[in-house]
Amino acid sequence: MQTAARSLARSTPHLRSLAIRRSHTGPSRDSEGTSRTTHFGFKTVPEEKKETLVKNVFDSVASSYDVMNDAMSLGVHRLWKDDFVSSLKPGVKGPLRCIDLAGGTGDIALRILDFARENYADRETSVDVVDINGEMLKEGYKRFKKTMYHNTPQVAFIESNAQALEQFPDNTYDLYTIAFGIRNCTSVPDVLKEAYRVLKPGGTFACLEFSKVTNPLFNMVYDQYSFSVIPIMGSILAGDRESYQYLVESIRKFPSQPDFAQMIVDAGFATGGMHEGKGGAWRDLWGGIACIHKGVKV
Protein backbone atom coordinates (compact mmCIF):
# COMPACT_ATOMS: atom_id res chain seq x y z
CA MET A 1 0.00 0.00 0.00
CA GLN A 2 2.76 2.37 0.92
CA THR A 3 4.39 1.53 -2.41
CA ALA A 4 1.17 2.33 -4.19
CA ALA A 5 0.94 5.66 -2.45
CA ARG A 6 4.53 6.45 -3.25
CA SER A 7 3.85 5.73 -6.87
CA LEU A 8 1.13 8.38 -6.75
CA ALA A 9 3.69 10.86 -5.56
CA ARG A 10 6.11 9.95 -8.28
CA SER A 11 3.56 10.43 -11.02
CA THR A 12 3.64 14.23 -10.91
CA PRO A 13 6.37 16.68 -10.04
CA HIS A 14 4.12 18.37 -7.49
CA LEU A 15 3.29 15.18 -5.71
CA ARG A 16 6.93 14.33 -5.62
CA SER A 17 7.63 17.52 -3.73
CA LEU A 18 5.60 16.25 -0.82
CA ALA A 19 7.14 13.62 1.34
CA ILE A 20 4.80 10.70 1.31
CA ARG A 21 5.05 8.42 4.21
CA ARG A 22 2.73 6.81 6.59
CA SER A 23 2.95 8.24 10.04
CA HIS A 24 2.50 5.74 12.79
CA THR A 25 1.60 6.49 16.30
CA GLY A 26 3.06 4.03 18.72
CA PRO A 27 0.76 2.06 20.99
CA SER A 28 -0.26 4.32 23.82
CA ARG A 29 -0.11 3.12 27.35
CA ASP A 30 -1.48 4.56 30.52
CA SER A 31 0.58 5.47 33.54
CA GLU A 32 0.51 1.88 34.81
CA GLY A 33 1.89 0.60 31.53
CA THR A 34 -1.27 -1.29 30.55
CA SER A 35 -2.61 -0.96 27.02
CA ARG A 36 -5.53 1.48 26.67
CA THR A 37 -8.71 0.56 24.90
CA THR A 38 -11.01 2.33 22.50
CA HIS A 39 -14.14 1.45 20.61
CA PHE A 40 -14.32 -0.17 17.21
CA GLY A 41 -17.99 0.01 16.43
CA PHE A 42 -19.63 -1.52 19.48
CA LYS A 43 -16.56 -3.61 20.29
CA THR A 44 -13.85 -2.57 22.71
CA VAL A 45 -10.37 -3.05 21.28
CA PRO A 46 -6.83 -2.04 22.31
CA GLU A 47 -6.05 1.46 20.96
CA GLU A 48 -3.11 0.24 18.89
CA LYS A 49 -5.34 -2.25 17.06
CA LYS A 50 -8.06 0.17 15.99
CA GLU A 51 -5.94 1.77 13.28
CA THR A 52 -5.32 -1.61 11.62
CA LEU A 53 -8.96 -2.64 11.97
CA VAL A 54 -10.20 0.61 10.43
CA LYS A 55 -7.62 0.29 7.69
CA ASN A 56 -8.89 -3.21 6.92
CA VAL A 57 -12.45 -1.89 6.68
CA PHE A 58 -11.50 0.81 4.20
CA ASP A 59 -9.19 -1.47 2.24
CA SER A 60 -12.18 -3.73 1.89
CA VAL A 61 -14.68 -1.08 0.84
CA ALA A 62 -12.40 1.28 -1.15
CA SER A 63 -13.39 0.17 -4.66
CA SER A 64 -17.12 0.22 -3.91
CA TYR A 65 -17.05 3.07 -1.40
CA ASP A 66 -18.88 5.64 -3.52
CA VAL A 67 -21.45 3.15 -4.82
CA MET A 68 -22.20 2.05 -1.29
CA ASN A 69 -22.40 5.62 -0.01
CA ASP A 70 -24.97 6.32 -2.70
CA ALA A 71 -26.91 3.20 -1.86
CA MET A 72 -26.82 3.70 1.92
CA SER A 73 -27.76 7.36 1.90
CA LEU A 74 -29.96 7.20 -1.20
CA GLY A 75 -27.64 9.75 -2.77
CA VAL A 76 -28.11 12.26 0.04
CA HIS A 77 -24.41 12.25 0.98
CA ARG A 78 -23.81 14.19 -2.24
CA LEU A 79 -26.20 16.93 -1.12
CA TRP A 80 -24.57 17.04 2.30
CA LYS A 81 -21.10 17.33 0.78
CA ASP A 82 -22.31 20.08 -1.60
CA ASP A 83 -23.85 21.91 1.33
CA PHE A 84 -20.69 21.44 3.40
CA VAL A 85 -18.40 22.88 0.72
CA SER A 86 -20.72 25.71 -0.31
CA SER A 87 -21.02 26.78 3.34
CA LEU A 88 -17.23 27.21 3.36
CA LYS A 89 -17.27 29.31 0.19
CA PRO A 90 -13.71 28.42 -0.87
CA GLY A 91 -12.21 31.13 -3.05
CA VAL A 92 -14.68 33.87 -2.13
CA LYS A 93 -11.98 36.26 -0.96
CA GLY A 94 -8.94 34.90 -2.74
CA PRO A 95 -7.30 31.49 -3.01
CA LEU A 96 -7.15 29.12 -0.05
CA ARG A 97 -4.65 26.51 0.85
CA CYS A 98 -6.71 23.55 2.00
CA ILE A 99 -6.04 20.19 3.54
CA ASP A 100 -8.69 17.49 3.29
CA LEU A 101 -8.24 14.73 5.82
CA ALA A 102 -9.66 11.25 5.31
CA GLY A 103 -10.30 12.56 1.83
CA GLY A 104 -9.06 9.50 -0.05
CA THR A 105 -11.64 9.33 -2.81
CA GLY A 106 -11.33 13.07 -3.42
CA ASP A 107 -15.02 13.85 -3.01
CA ILE A 108 -14.51 16.99 -0.94
CA ALA A 109 -11.33 18.12 -2.68
CA LEU A 110 -13.03 18.00 -6.07
CA ARG A 111 -15.99 19.98 -4.76
CA ILE A 112 -13.70 22.61 -3.20
CA LEU A 113 -11.76 23.10 -6.43
CA ASP A 114 -14.90 23.12 -8.57
CA PHE A 115 -16.66 25.58 -6.26
CA ALA A 116 -13.71 28.00 -6.30
CA ARG A 117 -13.32 27.74 -10.08
CA GLU A 118 -16.97 27.92 -11.06
CA ASN A 119 -18.03 30.67 -8.67
CA TYR A 120 -14.95 32.86 -8.33
CA ALA A 121 -12.79 31.93 -11.34
CA ASP A 122 -10.22 30.82 -8.79
CA ARG A 123 -7.60 28.40 -10.12
CA GLU A 124 -5.12 29.07 -7.34
CA THR A 125 -6.92 27.36 -4.46
CA SER A 126 -5.19 24.08 -3.73
CA VAL A 127 -6.07 20.97 -1.74
CA ASP A 128 -3.78 18.42 -0.16
CA VAL A 129 -5.78 15.22 0.04
CA VAL A 130 -4.61 13.19 3.01
CA ASP A 131 -5.69 9.68 3.97
CA ILE A 132 -4.18 6.93 6.06
CA ASN A 133 -5.40 4.42 3.53
CA GLY A 134 -3.46 4.03 0.30
CA GLU A 135 -6.29 2.16 -1.42
CA MET A 136 -8.66 5.06 -0.88
CA LEU A 137 -6.01 7.51 -2.12
CA LYS A 138 -5.57 5.40 -5.23
CA GLU A 139 -9.31 5.72 -5.91
CA GLY A 140 -9.10 9.47 -5.48
CA TYR A 141 -6.05 9.76 -7.66
CA LYS A 142 -7.77 7.74 -10.38
CA ARG A 143 -10.79 10.03 -10.18
CA PHE A 144 -8.68 13.19 -10.41
CA LYS A 145 -6.95 11.87 -13.52
CA LYS A 146 -10.28 12.41 -15.26
CA THR A 147 -10.35 16.07 -14.26
CA MET A 148 -8.53 19.23 -15.26
CA TYR A 149 -6.80 19.34 -11.88
CA HIS A 150 -4.63 16.31 -12.59
CA ASN A 151 -0.97 17.18 -12.87
CA THR A 152 -1.48 20.68 -11.53
CA PRO A 153 -0.30 22.23 -8.27
CA GLN A 154 -3.96 22.41 -7.23
CA VAL A 155 -4.04 18.90 -5.85
CA ALA A 156 -1.71 16.51 -4.07
CA PHE A 157 -2.28 13.10 -2.50
CA ILE A 158 -0.50 12.28 0.71
CA GLU A 159 -0.67 9.18 2.84
CA SER A 160 -0.65 10.13 6.49
CA ASN A 161 -2.36 9.66 9.81
CA ALA A 162 -4.69 12.50 10.86
CA GLN A 163 -3.44 12.08 14.43
CA ALA A 164 0.19 12.67 13.53
CA LEU A 165 0.63 15.00 10.58
CA GLU A 166 4.36 15.08 11.17
CA GLN A 167 5.36 15.98 7.63
CA PHE A 168 3.11 19.06 7.62
CA PRO A 169 4.58 22.21 9.15
CA ASP A 170 2.74 24.40 11.68
CA ASN A 171 0.51 27.28 10.49
CA THR A 172 0.29 26.09 6.89
CA TYR A 173 -3.36 25.85 5.84
CA ASP A 174 -6.32 28.23 5.59
CA LEU A 175 -8.91 25.48 5.62
CA TYR A 176 -8.93 22.00 7.17
CA THR A 177 -11.78 19.72 6.14
CA ILE A 178 -12.63 16.22 7.28
CA ALA A 179 -15.80 14.57 6.02
CA PHE A 180 -17.10 11.28 7.41
CA GLY A 181 -13.63 10.44 8.66
CA ILE A 182 -13.02 11.66 12.18
CA ARG A 183 -15.14 8.99 13.85
CA ASN A 184 -12.80 6.33 12.47
CA CYS A 185 -9.77 7.84 14.16
CA THR A 186 -8.46 6.27 17.34
CA SER A 187 -8.15 9.56 19.22
CA VAL A 188 -10.39 12.44 18.17
CA PRO A 189 -8.63 14.94 20.52
CA ASP A 190 -5.30 14.13 18.84
CA VAL A 191 -6.83 14.75 15.40
CA LEU A 192 -8.17 18.11 16.58
CA LYS A 193 -4.81 18.99 18.12
CA GLU A 194 -3.05 18.33 14.84
CA ALA A 195 -5.71 20.26 12.92
CA TYR A 196 -5.10 23.23 15.20
CA ARG A 197 -1.37 22.96 14.67
CA VAL A 198 -1.36 22.85 10.86
CA LEU A 199 -3.93 25.64 10.45
CA LYS A 200 -2.79 29.23 10.10
CA PRO A 201 -4.12 31.74 12.65
CA GLY A 202 -7.56 32.61 11.32
CA GLY A 203 -7.81 29.25 9.56
CA THR A 204 -11.01 27.24 9.70
CA PHE A 205 -11.57 23.67 10.85
CA ALA A 206 -14.69 22.14 9.26
CA CYS A 207 -16.00 18.68 9.94
CA LEU A 208 -18.88 16.86 8.29
CA GLU A 209 -19.80 13.76 10.22
CA PHE A 210 -22.71 11.50 11.02
CA SER A 211 -24.24 12.57 14.28
CA LYS A 212 -27.18 12.09 16.60
CA VAL A 213 -30.76 12.41 15.36
CA THR A 214 -32.56 14.79 17.68
CA ASN A 215 -36.18 13.78 17.01
CA PRO A 216 -36.94 10.55 18.95
CA LEU A 217 -39.50 9.33 16.43
CA PHE A 218 -37.23 9.94 13.46
CA ASN A 219 -34.40 8.38 15.44
CA MET A 220 -36.38 5.15 15.78
CA VAL A 221 -36.93 4.93 12.02
CA TYR A 222 -33.28 5.84 11.37
CA ASP A 223 -32.06 3.14 13.79
CA GLN A 224 -34.18 0.52 12.08
CA TYR A 225 -32.83 1.53 8.68
CA SER A 226 -29.22 1.65 9.87
CA PHE A 227 -29.09 -1.67 11.66
CA SER A 228 -31.40 -3.66 9.40
CA VAL A 229 -30.94 -2.31 5.87
CA ILE A 230 -27.35 -1.00 5.64
CA PRO A 231 -25.48 -4.21 6.63
CA ILE A 232 -27.67 -6.18 4.20
CA MET A 233 -26.88 -3.67 1.44
CA GLY A 234 -23.21 -4.08 2.32
CA SER A 235 -23.36 -7.81 1.80
CA ILE A 236 -25.36 -7.53 -1.44
CA LEU A 237 -23.54 -4.63 -3.13
CA ALA A 238 -20.04 -5.01 -1.74
CA GLY A 239 -20.07 -8.56 -0.43
CA ASP A 240 -18.95 -7.26 2.92
CA ARG A 241 -21.49 -7.18 5.73
CA GLU A 242 -19.06 -6.70 8.61
CA SER A 243 -17.43 -3.54 7.30
CA TYR A 244 -20.80 -1.86 6.88
CA GLN A 245 -21.96 -3.12 10.26
CA TYR A 246 -18.87 -1.36 11.67
CA LEU A 247 -19.71 1.86 9.80
CA VAL A 248 -23.18 1.90 11.35
CA GLU A 249 -21.90 1.10 14.83
CA SER A 250 -19.14 3.70 14.65
CA ILE A 251 -21.77 6.37 13.94
CA ARG A 252 -23.58 5.48 17.17
CA LYS A 253 -20.37 5.64 19.18
CA PHE A 254 -19.45 9.12 17.94
CA PRO A 255 -20.04 11.95 20.46
CA SER A 256 -23.22 13.99 20.29
CA GLN A 257 -23.19 17.42 18.64
CA PRO A 258 -22.61 19.46 21.85
CA ASP A 259 -19.96 17.02 23.11
CA PHE A 260 -18.04 17.16 19.85
CA ALA A 261 -18.33 20.96 19.79
CA GLN A 262 -16.84 21.00 23.28
CA MET A 263 -13.97 18.80 22.07
CA ILE A 264 -13.30 21.34 19.31
CA VAL A 265 -13.22 24.10 21.91
CA ASP A 266 -10.94 22.06 24.16
CA ALA A 267 -8.50 21.77 21.26
CA GLY A 268 -8.22 25.58 21.29
CA PHE A 269 -10.59 26.57 18.51
CA ALA A 270 -13.08 29.40 18.74
CA THR A 271 -16.56 28.36 17.68
CA GLY A 272 -19.95 29.94 17.28
CA GLY A 273 -22.37 29.86 20.23
CA MET A 274 -22.88 26.48 21.90
CA HIS A 275 -26.08 25.81 20.01
CA GLU A 276 -27.30 24.42 16.72
CA GLY A 277 -28.05 26.55 13.69
CA LYS A 278 -27.32 30.12 12.72
CA GLY A 279 -24.32 31.55 14.53
CA GLY A 280 -23.96 28.27 16.42
CA ALA A 281 -21.04 25.88 16.72
CA TRP A 282 -22.77 23.23 14.62
CA ARG A 283 -25.48 22.82 12.01
CA ASP A 284 -27.60 19.68 11.75
CA LEU A 285 -28.39 18.18 8.36
CA TRP A 286 -31.54 16.13 8.00
CA GLY A 287 -32.48 16.29 11.67
CA GLY A 288 -28.99 15.43 12.87
CA ILE A 289 -28.24 12.38 10.71
CA ALA A 290 -25.21 14.36 9.67
CA CYS A 291 -23.81 17.52 11.16
CA ILE A 292 -21.34 20.27 10.22
CA HIS A 293 -19.05 21.50 13.00
CA LYS A 294 -16.74 24.45 12.50
CA GLY A 295 -14.02 26.09 14.52
CA VAL A 296 -11.55 28.89 13.91
CA LYS A 297 -7.96 29.08 15.09
CA VAL A 298 -7.82 32.52 16.69
Binding site: S87, L88, K89, P90, V92, K93, L96, D174, L175, P201, G202, G203, T204, A206, I264, V265, D266, G268, F269, A270, T271, G272, G273, M274, K278, G279, A281, K294, G295, V296, V298
Partner: protein
Protein backbone atom coordinates in the same frame (compact mmCIF):
# COMPACT_ATOMS: atom_id res chain seq x y z
CA UNK B 1 -15.33 28.69 28.44
CA UNK B 2 -12.52 29.37 25.98
CA UNK B 3 -14.66 29.44 22.88
CA UNK B 4 -17.12 31.94 24.24
CA UNK B 5 -14.29 34.12 25.42
CA UNK B 6 -12.53 34.11 22.07
CA UNK B 7 -15.75 34.80 20.19
CA UNK B 8 -16.77 37.47 22.68
CA UNK B 9 -13.31 38.98 22.52
CA UNK B 10 -13.51 39.29 18.74
CA UNK B 11 -16.99 40.80 18.99
CA UNK B 12 -15.76 43.32 21.57
CA UNK B 13 -12.85 44.23 19.33
CA UNK B 14 -15.20 44.67 16.38
CA UNK B 15 -17.38 47.22 18.22
CA UNK B 16 -14.98 50.19 17.92
CA UNK B 17 -14.70 49.37 14.20
CA UNK B 18 -18.44 49.81 13.69
CA UNK B 19 -17.99 53.58 13.56
CA UNK B 20 -15.71 53.32 10.54
CA UNK B 21 -16.82 50.08 8.88
CA UNK B 22 -20.46 49.88 9.87
CA UNK B 23 -22.31 46.80 11.09
CA UNK B 24 -20.54 44.70 8.50
CA UNK B 25 -18.74 41.41 8.13
CA UNK B 26 -15.66 43.49 7.35
CA UNK B 27 -15.68 44.96 10.87
CA UNK B 28 -15.81 41.42 12.26
CA UNK B 29 -13.05 40.33 9.92
CA UNK B 30 -10.77 43.22 10.93
CA UNK B 31 -11.26 42.53 14.65
CA UNK B 32 -8.53 39.87 14.47
CA UNK B 33 -5.99 42.61 13.80
CA UNK B 34 -6.68 44.13 17.23
CA UNK B 35 -6.15 40.92 19.24
CA UNK B 36 -3.41 40.95 21.91
CA UNK B 37 -1.49 38.73 19.47
CA UNK B 38 -2.73 40.38 16.29
CA UNK B 39 -3.21 38.27 13.19
CA UNK B 40 -1.15 39.15 10.15
CA UNK B 41 -4.30 39.47 8.04
CA UNK B 42 -8.02 39.95 8.67
CA UNK B 43 -10.19 36.89 9.31
CA UNK B 44 -11.23 35.13 6.14
CA UNK B 45 -14.85 35.08 5.11
CA UNK B 46 -15.06 31.38 5.99
CA UNK B 47 -13.86 32.12 9.52
CA UNK B 48 -16.34 35.00 9.94
CA UNK B 49 -19.18 32.71 8.83
CA UNK B 50 -18.01 29.92 11.12
CA UNK B 51 -17.92 32.16 14.18
CA UNK B 52 -20.75 34.60 13.67
CA UNK B 53 -23.06 33.07 11.07
CA UNK B 54 -23.42 33.18 7.33
CA UNK B 55 -24.40 36.25 5.31
CA UNK B 56 -26.47 38.80 7.22
CA UNK B 57 -26.55 36.55 10.28
CA UNK B 58 -23.03 37.76 11.11
CA UNK B 59 -24.24 41.38 10.85
CA UNK B 60 -27.13 40.56 13.19
CA UNK B 61 -24.68 39.03 15.66
CA UNK B 62 -22.58 42.21 15.57
CA UNK B 63 -25.64 44.45 15.98
CA UNK B 64 -26.84 42.37 18.94
CA UNK B 65 -23.40 42.65 20.52
CA UNK B 66 -23.50 46.42 20.02
CA UNK B 67 -26.95 46.62 21.65
CA UNK B 68 -25.73 44.51 24.59
CA UNK B 69 -22.73 46.79 24.97
CA UNK B 70 -25.15 49.74 25.12
CA UNK B 71 -26.84 48.18 28.14
CA UNK B 72 -23.49 47.54 29.80
CA UNK B 73 -22.52 51.17 29.29
CA UNK B 74 -25.85 52.33 30.75
CA UNK B 75 -24.98 50.36 33.89
CA UNK B 76 -21.51 51.84 34.05
CA UNK B 77 -22.57 55.47 33.57
CA UNK B 78 -23.48 57.04 36.91
CA UNK B 79 -27.23 57.73 36.68
CA UNK B 80 -29.58 58.76 39.46
CA UNK B 81 -32.89 58.21 37.75
CA UNK B 82 -34.66 56.82 34.69
CA UNK B 83 -34.20 60.08 32.80
CA UNK B 84 -30.41 60.03 33.17
CA UNK B 85 -30.24 56.36 32.26
CA UNK B 86 -32.25 56.82 29.06
CA UNK B 87 -30.24 59.93 28.17
CA UNK B 88 -27.01 57.97 28.48
CA UNK B 89 -28.47 55.23 26.25
CA UNK B 90 -29.40 57.78 23.58
CA UNK B 91 -25.90 59.25 23.81
CA UNK B 92 -24.48 55.77 23.11
CA UNK B 93 -26.33 55.82 19.76
CA UNK B 94 -24.79 59.09 18.60
CA UNK B 95 -21.48 57.97 17.02
CA UNK B 96 -23.25 55.44 14.77
CA UNK B 97 -26.56 57.20 14.29
CA UNK B 98 -26.37 57.18 10.50
CA UNK B 99 -25.77 53.42 10.48
CA UNK B 100 -28.62 52.53 12.82
CA UNK B 101 -31.57 52.52 10.36
CA UNK B 102 -29.88 49.90 8.23
CA UNK B 103 -28.74 47.90 11.26
CA UNK B 104 -32.25 47.88 12.76
CA UNK B 105 -33.68 46.97 9.35
CA UNK B 106 -31.30 43.99 9.14
CA UNK B 107 -32.33 42.93 12.64
CA UNK B 108 -36.02 43.22 11.75
CA UNK B 109 -35.66 41.28 8.53
CA UNK B 110 -36.33 37.66 9.20
CA UNK B 111 -33.49 35.41 8.07
CA UNK B 112 -35.93 33.14 6.26
CA UNK B 113 -36.10 33.33 2.49
CA UNK B 114 -39.52 35.02 2.68
CA UNK B 115 -38.06 38.22 4.18
CA UNK B 116 -40.85 38.73 6.66
CA UNK B 117 -40.61 41.58 9.14
CA UNK B 118 -39.86 40.26 12.59
CA UNK B 119 -40.82 42.74 15.37
CA UNK B 120 -39.24 40.66 18.13
CA UNK B 121 -35.71 42.15 18.05
CA UNK B 122 -37.08 45.72 18.26
CA UNK B 123 -39.43 44.81 21.14
CA UNK B 124 -36.66 42.97 22.94
CA UNK B 125 -34.29 45.91 22.51
CA UNK B 126 -36.80 48.45 23.88
CA UNK B 127 -37.83 46.17 26.75
CA UNK B 128 -34.27 45.50 27.81
CA UNK B 129 -33.39 49.23 27.79
CA UNK B 130 -36.50 49.97 29.87
CA UNK B 131 -35.66 47.20 32.32
CA UNK B 132 -32.08 48.41 32.65
CA UNK B 133 -33.30 51.97 33.31
CA UNK B 134 -35.67 50.67 36.01
CA UNK B 135 -32.91 48.66 37.66
CA UNK B 136 -30.56 51.66 37.62
CA UNK B 137 -33.18 53.93 39.15
CA UNK B 138 -33.84 51.42 41.94
CA UNK B 139 -37.41 50.73 40.85
CA UNK B 140 -39.17 48.64 43.49
CA UNK B 141 -42.55 48.12 41.85
CA UNK B 142 -44.03 44.65 41.87
CA UNK B 143 -46.92 42.81 40.22
CA UNK B 144 -48.88 44.57 37.49
CA UNK B 145 -47.06 47.84 38.12
CA UNK B 146 -43.74 46.18 37.34
CA UNK B 147 -44.99 45.34 33.83
CA UNK B 148 -46.83 48.66 33.35
CA UNK B 149 -43.74 50.68 34.30
CA UNK B 150 -41.48 48.78 31.89
CA UNK B 151 -44.02 48.77 29.07
CA UNK B 152 -44.51 52.54 29.28
CA UNK B 153 -40.74 53.18 29.45
CA UNK B 154 -40.14 50.84 26.50
CA UNK B 155 -42.72 52.73 24.44
CA UNK B 156 -41.21 56.08 25.45
CA UNK B 157 -37.66 54.99 24.68
CA UNK B 158 -38.61 53.48 21.30
CA UNK B 159 -40.39 56.68 20.31
CA UNK B 160 -37.45 58.82 21.43
CA UNK B 161 -34.98 56.60 19.59
CA UNK B 162 -37.00 56.82 16.38
CA UNK B 163 -37.12 60.59 16.85
CA UNK B 164 -33.35 60.60 17.35
CA UNK B 165 -32.83 58.94 13.97
CA UNK B 166 -34.48 61.85 12.16
CA UNK B 167 -33.74 64.72 14.54
CA UNK B 168 -30.76 63.95 16.79
CA UNK B 169 -30.54 67.42 18.31
CA UNK B 170 -34.05 67.50 19.73
CA UNK B 171 -34.15 63.87 20.85
CA UNK B 172 -33.29 64.57 24.50
CA UNK B 173 -35.98 67.27 24.85
CA UNK B 174 -38.44 64.97 23.15
CA UNK B 175 -37.57 62.17 25.56
CA UNK B 176 -37.98 64.55 28.53
CA UNK B 177 -41.35 65.74 27.27
CA UNK B 178 -42.53 62.13 26.87
CA UNK B 179 -41.34 61.26 30.36
CA UNK B 180 -43.05 64.38 31.77
CA UNK B 181 -46.28 63.56 29.94
CA UNK B 182 -46.07 60.00 31.15
CA UNK B 183 -45.54 61.19 34.73
CA UNK B 184 -48.49 63.60 34.41
CA UNK B 185 -50.71 60.86 32.97
CA UNK B 186 -49.61 58.52 35.75
CA UNK B 187 -50.31 61.18 38.41
CA UNK B 188 -53.70 61.96 36.88
CA UNK B 189 -54.57 58.27 36.75
CA UNK B 190 -53.37 57.82 40.35
CA UNK B 191 -55.47 60.79 41.47
CA UNK B 192 -58.48 59.61 39.50
CA UNK B 193 -58.04 56.19 41.09
CA UNK B 194 -57.79 57.72 44.55
CA UNK B 195 -60.89 59.85 43.92
CA UNK B 196 -62.77 56.80 42.64
CA UNK B 197 -61.81 54.95 45.84
CA UNK B 198 -63.13 57.85 47.98
CA UNK B 199 -66.41 57.94 45.99
CA UNK B 200 -66.80 54.18 46.29
CA UNK B 201 -66.09 54.32 50.04
CA UNK B 202 -68.59 57.21 50.51
CA UNK B 203 -71.30 55.31 48.63
CA UNK B 204 -70.57 52.24 50.68
CA UNK B 205 -70.91 54.37 53.85
CA UNK B 206 -74.20 55.91 52.64
CA UNK B 207 -75.66 52.54 51.70
CA UNK B 208 -74.55 51.08 55.05
CA UNK B 209 -76.17 53.99 57.00
CA UNK B 210 -79.42 53.38 55.09
CA UNK B 211 -79.41 49.85 56.30
CA UNK B 212 -78.97 48.25 52.89
CA UNK B 213 -76.13 45.99 54.16
Amino acid sequence: MATTNLRKQLLQLALPLVKTHGFTREALSLSALSLPNPHAEPLRDTAVSSLFGEGDEARRTLTSAWIDEGRTQMRQTPSLNVRDALHSRLRYNEPVLKLLPEAFATMALSSSSFHLIDPQPALKHAASVADEACVISGDTTTGTMWYARRASLAAIYSTAELHQLVSPKTAYEFLDSLLDTSTKVKNSLDEAGLFATYVAKSWAGILKSRGVF
